[in-house]
Subunit: 87 residues, 2 copies
């Protein structure tokens, strides 16, 4: 299924959430990731995210689309700090 | 159709993009909005966003879902600066 993840986490946890998201998804904007995950991968992703965030200070949303549904994407401008695999 | 908008804009343009997104969508995280728009509303939204961003420094993605498709949403934690209608 197609997943879009957005997060707003405290600065000290940003590198960890970034690394976790990168293990599962593509980096498309500063704190936005997307990709295709199986239900089992999504279960592991949820466990990993839950383990590293602080519920009092962080906020993560994962949108999961119905099976087979792929979103269209309209983009304006360019990412300032181009996402890459180098941390 | 269901729309999810994420943006990463230069600080000086944040208030304007925030106000524009709020005219059309619900604020769900610092730089994330979502909601239902008609094709005509989405056309106006696109024009408004295009008019206010600087293509060299800003980045905006609008995901549009296939008609009838509504994403499921898994959320962890809470938004630190709770979205509100007050700027």
């Amino acid at each position: 299924m197609h997943i879009i993840v957005v997060y707003d986490t405290a600065a000290e946890r940003n590198p960890k959430i970034l690394r976790t998201c990168r293990r599962y998804l593509h980096h498309v904007q500063r704190s936005v990731f997307e990709g295709q995950l199986s239900p089992a991968q999504f279960t592991r992703f949820q466990r990993d995210v839950k383990d590293l965030i602080d519920d009092e200070y962080d906020h993560v949303i994962a949108y999961t689309l119905p099976p087979g549904a792929v979103p269209q994407r309209v983009t304006w401008g360019q990412e300032r700090d181009a996402p890459s695999d180098i941390l």
